[in-house]
Symmetry: C2
Subunit: 462 residues, 2 copies
Amino acid sequence: MTQRFAAVSPALLADLTASVGADNLSTTGADLALHAQDAGFHPAHAAEVVVWARSAEQVARVLRLASQAGVPVTPWGVGTGLEGNAIPLYGGILLSLERMDAIVAVHADDFQVTVQPGICHKDLNEKLARYGLFFPPDPGANATIGGMLANNAAGIRTVKYGASKDNVLRMQVALPDGRLIYTGSRSVKQSAGYNLTQLFVGSEGTLGIITEATLKLVPVPQFMSAMIAGFATVEAAIETVVAVRGSGVDVAALEFLDETNTRALNAAGTDIAPYPTLLLEIHAAHAGTLEQDIAIVRDLCQQAGALSFRATADTAERKVLWNARHHAYETLVRNHPGQKIFIMDVSVPISAYPDLIAFSRQVLAEHGISGYMKGHAGDGNIHVELPFGDPDTYARVQAVNSAIVLKAIALGGTCTGEHGVGIGKAAYMAAEHGAALAVMQQIKALLDPQGILNPGKIFPQA
Amino acid sequence: MTQRFAAVSPALLADLTASVGADNLSTTGADLALHAQDAGFHPAHAAEVVVWARSAEQVARVLRLASQAGVPVTPWGVGTGLEGNAIPLYGGILLSLERMDAIVAVHADDFQVTVQPGICHKDLNEKLARYGLFFPPDPGANATIGGMLANNAAGIRTVKYGASKDNVLRMQVALPDGRLIYTGSRSVKQSAGYNLTQLFVGSEGTLGIITEATLKLVPVPQFMSAMIAGFATVEAAIETVVAVRGSGVDVAALEFLDETNTRALNAAGTDIAPYPTLLLEIHAAHAGTLEQDIAIVRDLCQQAGALSFRATADTAERKVLWNARHHAYETLVRNHPGQKIFIMDVSVPISAYPDLIAFSRQVLAEHGISGYMKGHAGDGNIHVELPFGDPDTYARVQAVNSAIVLKAIALGGTCTGEHGVGIGKAAYMAAEHGAALAVMQQIKALLDPQGILNPGKIFPQA
């Protein structure tokens, strides 16, 4: 750790307490431990103080105080990240947005909602249900909206509705020097100057802290169908992905499971044919569309030599089919008692998907690691799940991870499709971005000259 | 003009000639005049030399030479902008990208194409037709892809397919200091660091020059339908826009024409009922969807008390319906012999659309100006078309423009939905962005410290 920061002094603690109130600040070991690690496997590191902001103005004041003191600030939602994105690697202030969880305004006629960053997306969608609207990005975990925007979370519905970045119109952002700015506008079409919204989205709290966001919403679909199809080879499955996308059928999810994954799920009680498998979902405004979409997809699957195909527009049956996908991770955990599951995240152009999977298998075999592959195939996003139980296996898991990440970049893809860079992917930024990385570093130095905002993330450490 | 730049010296001319070749450089009055004004009404201003780049490396070299000499560089596509975005306001080098018009690679299985910036979108789509794919943003004019990206052009299909910014994955960009960088990746999902692609998109050539772009493509729809509906009031029409969007019907265009516009069109031979009117288009993967979508939209129009409704999935009839929209501008020009038509562009949250239209009517009446309103209602984007023939009327047109722009901002909207800031909207940037404007200025100063790239655009001039 070559960067050096000041420690949190008693004077700073007093200023912070005056800013947010004693109820919204803690230095207890329990609170520090609760905010020292995310849902991944990067080593825990404790902050010196946890501060819960209650307003944008408090966030700005904390940042101003931290800048004056030269103390690092790491923003925190609910800690569901996987790449250490919110670990306070250099101590200092852990700034939790969890208590800023209000819906500021529902603009139902505009299909928009304005929220504070600490509200979790599932809770938001529950509250939006009575308007017949929802915020579509769903990373699985019940992450905060602020965390989803900061890390550009995506998930299974991105193929139709886009990632978090595609579903935000306007944000309020606190800058390290204490400025509060609004980016964007509530107009869906915007062409007025630099797209600051997209500069802060996905910047993982290293440029500013999102204190409010106006999100795009979509109508809850009236009709849904699900399909599951098994193929002899990964190539046949991916050929079908390309064919489905080319057919114009507007899929809401297009997921891939390798046969290892289907076997693991079947061991837990499902009855998926043990082949490379596609799971599809379609959202439509009327039932007839579903029937015709299913007919088109069935034809395409058959043309690719599908060994099995099942479709349903029945809600109960659809839920059973999707249970397989949703419970895949828990099933893996149960199948590997005493082990942890490392989830890697890369993404490639869809035509490179079979290459990436073949390469991944080879690397897994070379390192003697068992891995499970599933992914958002419609987006070219793949997650290889790697169980480990001891330091040696973890080291080999890391070697596998590194090889696959570099292969994804070589195939024209990215080191992270949806988990963000955090700590875990920083080492690959130069390989992926080349000379553009220096531009990112220039922007970081411009907006955060002291480097106090979420230090140790995104950029490779010297 | 408070900024001062060096003139193009004989030595610089020699260096430029050595860089691009004598065939790709001109100082003739005719060539300078051809690149002195766009399709709008901002005063012409000539550059000192026109340079046609043939490669990214040449663009980078020209920028390096210009930086060393302190000479401004204004990038140019084919000059179809409306806000003076490409007028070389401070002379210097007009850098045309028109001769960089190659398709670099078609990635059909990835639904992507990589192009040079000078290719025009209609030409690109003609060449993509044999793959069954197209690039959906369509600003009307046959703009270059580079110009569309630089200005974030949008158009009538944005309601379904997004604006230019939503349809680009990766770009090569030349920076003012001569660096060439790649932003983004060919992966559809990306979460690896700062979104530099979106920083350069819409920056109107003030931060860097786009020298290559990988675009997202979509399948050419198998089936299309068009609908036209007339309403008693603007409010009823917009109520229908909200209802259609809320129904889940996935419209590919959702256009508004005021009754003045329908009367003007009818005077030119169409037979649209002279009411506030909606034009809709739907793209679908099968014919059945069209029928059901039409039924839903017809119901919603009737519920809103539509006075007329016509729908068709017939290609010939659909084209007739859309002719009304596509020829609206030419018809206006014919109806106002000897006059020019100023096209204003603002965008608001859809719920504010009736307010904006009512306000616009009032302002037009107050200033004694006749105006025609049409817009991409599905996006809240509106264009008021204002005929003028003399300086006094032009001054009143400008007063009307200013009042409506400020109203759009006050309604939570933006001073430009799709034409960009250029010269014409720079004065409104502070009103729209407040403290965020300073952040944009910081970024401009960071990447272009001498301010040589497209000076006089986006930012209010001192």
